[in-house]
């Protein structure tokens, strides 16, 4: 059974926000909505300071708190692990947004555009269905579904791969089937030490962060 997962190699990320921007392009999100974004994190005290850049977004958890609390069943989880939102069912109560420990969900009440009035590009992509309802990273599910229908491999074939992974200029982001032991993500996790965000909450996130290679046996 396919289970999609995202892997971010924190050794590589430089916080450039190219993934942030490309996600906005691919998904036509309104100003202020960043389904994918990168945090700038500082730890320590001068001069012993470290700084890291951390891509975040929906973790497509195994046990999503958002799905548990959603009163309308708009939020569901597919067998391949992708957590989806049915925009037509959602009542925009934002319960999922406060339930998410990763602050991955956004709701835009009113149509908003980069410069006030919509530009032609924004007009082209405007989707009234996404107003006043919860939205979040979908792992570019449309690309995955269209791609796999054509026999392409998400995470390997760009056409079938999430935009952020395609755009990443440091090869920080990888995407693939974690149930396949030979997939790119499985191999990355086998060879490197990794963690997940807020693991102690028991959400079972499918977003893995690599921080070092494994010691040789």
């Amino acid at each position: 059974m396919t289970r999609w997962a995202m892997v971010a190699d924190l050794r590589r990320c430089v916080g450039c926000q190219t993934c942030t921007a490309s996600c906005k392009h691919a998904n036509a999100t309104p100003p202020g909505v960043q389904w994918r974004r990168v945090l700038d994190l500082e730890v320590g005290e001068y001069p012993a300071v470290k700084r890291a850049f951390v891509p975040v977004g929906c973790m497509h958890c195994d046990d999503p708190p958002c799905m548990e609390v959603c009163p309308s069943t708009a939020t569901r989880k597919r067998p391949d692990g992708i957590v989806t939102i049915d925009y037509d069912l959602c009542i925009g109560c934002s319960y999922c947004a406060v339930a998410c420990p990763y602050q991955a969900r956004y709701k835009t009440d009113r149509a908003s555009f980069a410069y006030g009035e919509p530009t032609p590009a924004e007009e082209q992509r405007f989707d009234a269905k996404r107003l006043a309802v919860a939205t979040k990273c979908t792992f570019c599910v449309d690309r995955i579904d269209a791609g796999t229908a054509k026999g392409l491999t998400p995470g390997i074939d760009p056409e079938a791969t999430p935009a952020c992974v395609n755009a990443c200029i440091t090869q920080t982001m990888s995407f693939g089937d974690i149930e396949d032991p030979h997939s790119n993500v499985s191999q990355l996790l086998a060879e490197n030490q990794h963690f997940r965000m807020h693991e102690e909450l028991g959400t079972g996130p499918r977003f893995y962060y690599i921080w070092d290679k494994k010691e040789e046996a």
């Binding site: 924190l10 050794r11 609390v69 959603c70 009163p71 934002s94 339930a99 602050q103 006043a132 921080w211």
Partner: protein
């Protein structure tokens, strides 16, 4: 605007959401005390209608906050896991039973409605507890604090209204006192359980509200109750003040809980990346 990695305040639920807990809790608590206080006839009717009106006001308030109010009916689709759905069912039951009780002037129906109101108040607390994104909400102790304050506010409202007519019955006052103490203890337990997980600004806000809750919402009303017990001539005014204080402090606490102390967890890394070599 850019947020994180340090915890920041949620911006999804504002005062409209807070009013749901504020009015809903007080209304449910009022129904509970009214139905079991021995009231009958028009007096009972009035309290039932007031309790339901408060619950209704809370729900209408939150109806104004949701993005797609015309789809509000969808809120009932997930009784399997969603406390918000369950809350809506409980509210439905409260209204059905409560309206029937008011229509027929029936005490048994009023008590049935009151039991569903207890469920309603419990659901509200569980709604908050299930919000894993907010450390100040996601502890079991909060559900109990929310529950006890609902009962206390309801009792306080009932007592305050009653003093306009007569001195409330001793049973009611005893219940009121127990509720006050239970709420005080619930706060203390709650505060202990969020000490390590809530962000500093959240704790600061909670402490300010909690101080008011204890000083003006627990100690003062208990003192006034005692005063009323021993000084009959000031009893009604003392009890009025006690009731209002119990109500108002609970409301301010819930307002702060939803709109001032609701910081998320932010982000932190258990390991920092190794860049090149150690």
């Amino acid at each position: 605007m850019s947020y994180g990695p340090k915890p920041w305040h949620q911006s999804n639920w504002d005062f409209r959401a807070a009013l749901n807990f504020i009015f809903g809790g007080a209304g449910a608590g009022l129904l509970v005390v009214a139905a079991f206080s021995g009231l009958a006839g028009d007096a009972l009717r009035a309290e039932m209608l007031l309790g339901m009106a408060l619950i209704g006001a809370g729900l209408i308030s939150v109806w104004f906050e949701i993005g797609r109010p015309l789809r509000a009916i969808n809120v009932g689709f997930n009784p399997f896991t969603s406390w918000m759905t369950r809350e809506s069912f409980a509210a439905g039951a409260v209204f059905a039973l409560g309206l029937a009780a008011a229509w027929l002037g029936s005490q048994p129906l009023a008590q049935a409605a009151a039991l569903t109101a207890l469920v309603f108040a419990y659901c509200q607390g569980r709604i908050l507890q299930a919000a894993k994104g907010i450390p100040a909400w996601r502890v079991p102790a909060l559900a109990w604090l929310n529950f006890t304050t609902a009962l206390t506010e309801g009792a306080g409202l009932f007592v305050a209204l009653a003093t306009l007519f007569d001195t409330p019955a001793k049973g009611v006052l005893a219940y009121f006192s127990l509720a006050l103490i239970a709420r005080g203890l619930a706060w203390s337990t709650y505060r202990g359980s969020v000490a390590k997980s809530a962000a500093r600004p959240a704790l600061a806000a909670l402490d300010r509200a909690g101080k008011i809750l204890i000083q003006f919402g627990t100690i003062a009303p208990l003192a006034l109750l005692l005063l009323g017990l021993f000084a009959a001539d000031v009893a009604r005014i003392a009890l009025l003040l006690a009731g209002v204080a119990a109500l108002a402090t609970g409301w301010q606490f819930k307002f702060v809980l939803i709109t001032r102390a609701a910081y998320n967890q932010g982000f932190a890394l258990p390991h920092l990346p190794v860049r090149g070599t150690r």
